[in-house]
Symmetry: C2
Subunit: 236 residues, 2 copies
Amino acid sequence: MTRSLIVYLAASRHGGGMKIAVLGTGDVGRRIASRLVELGHHVTLGSRTADNAAATKWASETGERASHGTFADSAKSAEVVFNCTKGEHTLAVLEAAGAAALDGKVLVDVSNPLDFSKGFPPSLSVANTDSLGEQIQRAFPGAKVVKALNTLANPLMVRPRDLPDSHHTFISSDHADAKVTVRALLESFGWAKDEIIDLGGLDTARGTEGFLLLWVRLFGAMGTPMFNLKLVKLEG
Amino acid sequence: MTRSLIVYLAASRHGGGMKIAVLGTGDVGRRIASRLVELGHHVTLGSRTADNAAATKWASETGERASHGTFADSAKSAEVVFNCTKGEHTLAVLEAAGAAALDGKVLVDVSNPLDFSKGFPPSLSVANTDSLGEQIQRAFPGAKVVKALNTLANPLMVRPRDLPDSHHTFISSDHADAKVTVRALLESFGWAKDEIIDLGGLDTARGTEGFLLLWVRLFGAMGTPMFNLKLVKLEG
């Protein structure tokens, strides 16, 4: 299936967009939700309560394709679900959304298991021989978890062309069809096809989550979170 | 102190080179040792026994500035020590070299705590809230440990210009003077000044060692170990 066909099919299903739930009303969630609305999708920003102030404000400011609701309500009516919650809350949030609402759906996991309990820089609450992505998949075996976008600052996730050079992002999943959907969404954000590196199965999320251990140090050394990595390879 | 002065001082101390011990006779150790000899240093390749076959062969093939010896003998007579042993052996090797032989010296730690006990890809035997670099520093408080070069394949460590684009490498240490020495050595390998990123104290080795969790996955996805990362930053 070509890219244009995938995007066309996705966009045509609801007169110009998919129904997408974005769980989490923080910077990452609002940034991704706004970009998806801009691209023509119908987005529900999910939060713990139906009257969450940040979600209400976001929906009223973002236009007619933007709405908000509880984690459960937003996930229930969506075709694709983005998890943009803090890693420490992720499993509880998805529990609140409910396994039935996630069943058979693409679940894009943008979270990182950052542990700030000992201050900054954070360590990881799960690392090395397991990952939060895999924990989610085990807890919700009916969902099609794709780890994506968790290795860079949220403005760059959705506007990769803002950086002055090519750079790379990663996807990890045990579900090939879900990867096709996520690739199409990333390409619609502005990522070039060859900038999206398929690392393999969801266990490779141990790699992208583990990269956060370097990212938090680079954040200090670079003096800005607005950077990403480009992989440079020997030719021939 | 300018770069040229540092290199001059280093090179002039022994009529054209420093006395350097490289511990470990594997690919990494031999590659770094050969490059150091090529750059005019006097290098002893250290191994468990004085008659190690790989070390004997290397010394006889590499010319008059190349010698070999036990870990203890090579470290004793060196000004700078490179640890190029496998992470699982590192602490025992340094114990064999002896704390006295390392006292006050720059110890460049190139190792990674890779754990292959469950097959490939490896996990890490220490990660997240500690690092092998820090374990070495705690075990040998008299040494000046600098974590360096542990994030890329050994041919690229010593010939960074082989890649078709700029790319980055990292140093972590609690010893500012030792970082100056290591920077000068890396620049002599071909690294540009702004390609060497000082991450801060030795605890930042948790970041570069943690990156290995991604590196081993990228090795699969890129189809070659001959790659490295370039950090791309938003301008302005």
